[in-house]
């Protein structure tokens, strides 16, 4: 939030292509399970044909990374990053981790979390 008040619009004047063109008018991800904690990782591919915005995301995702982190590091709103990630997933530039939504009743996972926290 540095230097910007909540509610103040982001300056997009440095953009060459409006974001809505970049995402082909898509306003919500087709994969409705995409969550702000969803993990993605870049797959090996030739990215030179992609727009810089997509390349930026793929560079961030050399290691597993959440959509929220991509959004924070690139300084772009979550909604936009979700759509960009959605497109990269469809085109097999990114691989998808398990959706957080499926984990809630997973006892083994919860026990792993508990042990992990107790080790801290």
């Amino acid at each position: 939030m540095a230097g910007r008040e909540p509610g103040e619009a982001r300056d997009e004047s440095d953009r060459l292509v409006p974001l809505y063109v970049l995402v082909n008018g898509r306003t919500t991800p087709r994969n409705a399970a995409l969550d702000l904690a969803t993990q993605v990782v870049a797959l090996p591919a030739d990215t030179t044909v992609l727009e810089p915005e997509y390349q930026q995301i793929l560079r961030q995702c050399r290691e597993w990374m959440s959509i929220a982190e991509i959004s924070a590091y690139l300084g772009r709103p979550l909604t936009v990053v979700k759509v960009l990630v959605d497109i990269l997933l469809e085109q097999d530039y990114l691989a998808l981790g398990s959706a957080a939504q499926q984990t809630v009743y997973d006892r083994a996972l919860l026990e792993t979390l508990l042990c992990g926290l107790q080790r801290l």
Binding site: M1, A72, P77, G97, L110, G116, L120
Partner: protein, 186 residues
């Protein structure tokens, strides 16, 4: 290769110490992400050219704890202002549980958070942040004031201290596990 992410929501009234807690347990410096909300219904009668006025940016603070190479835990602080409820649904969707941080000088500020998680059946613990000094109320007094269901764990913590904040998360995980149906068979 598998990779699973898990969310915990850190809620509470404005100034209860949510961002502090996220920061003290996170292995990375806390990050801020933003969601842009377009308030289509607001100002529809305004003159054209004022579109920017209709966008509200909600800042979300979050942190991360890597549990192992396959599991990573994210902690999301809820936006402080009540008018950003729409953001809570996204945070709460699929979360393991929530911590409601309470500042005993401003108990009513935590009512909305408690109500939110109760209504949705999301497991949560209440953590009284003692950061603000000695709390002169007993647990029973706090429970009564917050009208807490007897099964909701109540803890005290110093959100600035990592160990103390981690204890709260451990308490939450234990609470969530205790609420799970018993495993079927040995």
């Amino acid at each position: 290769m598998e990779r699973t992410s898990v969310k915990v929501v850190i809620a509470g009234g404005f100034g209860a110490g949510k961002t502090t807690m996220v920061g003290s347990v996170s292995e990375i410096p806390p990050l801020t992400t933003e969601e842009v909300m377009t308030e289509a219904s607001v100002g529809v009668d305004d003159l054209a050219g004022l579109e920017e006025k209709h966008q509200t940016t909600v800042a979300l603070d979050f942190g991360r704890i890597t549990i192992n190479s396959e599991v990573v835990l994210y902690l999301f602080g809820t936006p402080g202002q009540d008018r950003f409820w729409f953001m809570w649904d996204e945070l709460a969707q699929g979360c393991v549980g929530a911590v409601v941080l309470v500042d005993t000088r401003r108990l009513p500020a935590s009512f909305a958070s408690i109500d939110y998680f109760e209504r949705r059946g999301i497991p949560f613990v209440v953590a009284v942040n003692t950061f603000f000094g000695e709390c002169s109320y007993t647990d029973d007094e706090i429970r009564a004031a917050l009208q807490l269901n007897g099964e909701v764990p109540l803890a005290r913590c110093d959100a600035r201290r990592r160990g103390s904040a981690v204890e709260v998360l451990i308490g939450l995980l234990q609470h969530v596990l205790a609420k799970l149906p018993a495993p079927a068979g040995p």
